[in-house]
Symmetry: C2
Subunit: 468 residues, 2 copies
Amino acid sequence: MHSAISMNKTEILDAALNEFSEGYFGLSDENRRTLLISLSKEYDLNRTQLRELMKQYLELELRTGDKDVDIVHEEEGSFSAFYRIERNLRHSLKPMYEILFERLNTHPGGLRFLSTMRADILSLLMEENLAPLRALDSYLKEKLITWLSPANLQLHNITWDDPASLLEKIVAYEAVHPISNLLDLKRRLGVGRRCFGYLHPAIPGEPLIFIEVALMKNVAQTIQEVLWDDPPIAESEATCALFYSISSTQPGLSGVNLGKFLIKRVIDVVRKDMPKISTFATLSPIPGYIQWLLSKLASAERSTSTFREMLLKPEEENALLDATKELASGKNGMEVMRNVLSTHHEWVNSTSLREALQIPLTRLCARYLFLEKKRGKALDSVGNFHLQNGAMIGRINWMADRSEKGLKQSAGIMVNYIYKVENIEENAQSYFSKGQIQASSDVMAYIEVIIFHQRTSVVNMICTSLPY
Amino acid sequence: MHSAISMNKTEILDAALNEFSEGYFGLSDENRRTLLISLSKEYDLNRTQLRELMKQYLELELRTGDKDVDIVHEEEGSFSAFYRIERNLRHSLKPMYEILFERLNTHPGGLRFLSTMRADILSLLMEENLAPLRALDSYLKEKLITWLSPANLQLHNITWDDPASLLEKIVAYEAVHPISNLLDLKRRLGVGRRCFGYLHPAIPGEPLIFIEVALMKNVAQTIQEVLWDDPPIAESEATCALFYSISSTQPGLSGVNLGKFLIKRVIDVVRKDMPKISTFATLSPIPGYIQWLLSKLASAERSTSTFREMLLKPEEENALLDATKELASGKNGMEVMRNVLSTHHEWVNSTSLREALQIPLTRLCARYLFLEKKRGKALDSVGNFHLQNGAMIGRINWMADRSEKGLKQSAGIMVNYIYKVENIEENAQSYFSKGQIQASSDVMAYIEVIIFHQRTSVVNMICTSLPY
């Protein structure tokens, strides 16, 4: 195995690349680990050379003076020297494993192999977070981003006429709303539906990512409307294109944001094709909501400070306590809520509980989506994805996905993100640079209530804790 | 115009990119020059930041000791610091114009635009060889090489059934043997012929490069056999695939060696398709031969030293002087030869002159192809192209191309380069690393004569110049 890599350093033999990639697939997890770690450590930079170049560069700097502005006006000679060392520096900052990556990229099947290798690196990193492995991963990711630039990808309208081998991939990789049978697949590719995928010439017959679209009269509020509206409306009546599922087929391409370009391309294609369609929206899951809410509730319960956060309004708490007399207990509304949400979704079958939970869960969901951040970006992964692509938060839909998964992730709530063609770039830009999230007035109404509510509690708490 | 570039620094607006590229096409040559020079100078590196990072890195080096080997075994912390600064260094070594290139690459029509821009940069460099412009060019070239990696290209078998808009491009860009009319084109795409092109998804309907192939019984010795063999042999009888023309359609992709990958792919496709074909060869022009020979002859004439090189053998010189009594004059064979070759190819119509020239011109051509180097690589550009792709010099063909261009470039001589599937990688490797050229025994026979001949002259000359 090691000889297969080292051959790659001196020979350009296709055979060696084949041998290497085939050999790799035959390795046990443990041997793959050994190989990847040795690749990351032993085929790294030549740091001696790098250091040498840096010293040369800094000396050159001293000789030609210290002002960048002047350098521009300097004579050809010293000018060229800067460019030359800079070029050499770029070169010497390339790790040796770059050679292997580059060669595999131009080798038949190599890109797919690199994607597999990256998936392995990612799962290794979950176990042990080693610096050289992290560097290997980030380098490979950069390379994949370059190679999979949208200019190299082909948008393909996937239909029932496509080869079964391709459709099989759609069934296998649909990650959001699993496809139950052939009829379900046929419906998703039939009248009133579209499915678009990005194909790369080097990975034929397998979309790297695909998106499912429903053509509708109005923005759907529940996933049931999308998956079970039989028969669908006539396409000529549609005014809305609803993106209800987006799935990536390559775990090794994690962090390579193909979805952004796919959505933009699909919007362009649909607008050109069906000028009557004026709304582009998603019906999206909120994968992190309940997990976040449960931990918020738990920490509020643990806290004995007077500053402890009141997640429920008094009237919400009362309604909840009334509705849960038999089902769950707890010393206050927040504990009851946590208990209700932690059990096996029995609350869904109780009309009174559903009614008692609707307002607080919707309100807290708006807060989660709009206010909760991690490093300046939306905490929710799906939210972050659409916001960075330029969408806004449109509407929060109660009881929109009653599947086991939907109830567990978000108490059945789903959200419509809206892509307004004229604002996409602007939204993406202000989210990217300032973390600013756009939301509809419906959603903002919940937020304003929260901000107001919090402000008054803070005032109360300050009053309480003053020493008189 | 400048505002269009500077917008690119802060916004991701497609509109700005469109405006920029459309605006560019509307510019005069002089304004394009101004724009490109300002792009190369004002959107360059941030050298202050780069210097800062280098200092940090070298300090880190001091703190953690001087031995690379030890660093590998060091603890996580300092390890991560190296990787972090290296990543930052890579980033800060990217000139600002990288942003523009990257954005244009993902923008519809952007890749074609970049190729136009590079063509402009190249022609500017022919006029004034400015260092920042050279750096801009070499950076853009590297980017294009990455984006146009063979993994992103599709091999297309171009046939008479292709759209006229694509075939039109073939006619327009065929650079080796111009296509005279529709019938000529149809023949080149008909029985016994193939034409393959590389298409990029971002430049649809226009191959970046294409190659024309003739299926033959034997390796053709003259281009007439290829272009006018009507009717062609039955394809089932073919044992040889002859590459008789390879043309690039994008001057902006100069230096991006797509031809190498195209030839390899075409060999693979033809072998799979027609297992009877065992020989892959070219019939290639020798664009630099006569120019080289004329300057050799001129410098031999000018030289008064006893070391002056004898380019003709005595018997060749006599035969030439006999044959040129009426047509050309000169004080010796070399001067006569130069005069004959400098005139308007009248010698081709004289049987005696053709006979007198055949041996020396063929012999000197073998020397030119096999021995004449520039920076360790074959001096002839077409030769260098095929040798770096792994071919060998097969046969030198007298009176192989009597067109005006053929006579001017190489006195009508053409050469067959042979691609032996089993040696391609090995040849490419030894040419790349050692400048070693492989040639058939036929060609080597001429070389041995030359080496022997030169050796004896040197011996003679040494004897002559010794002081006794």
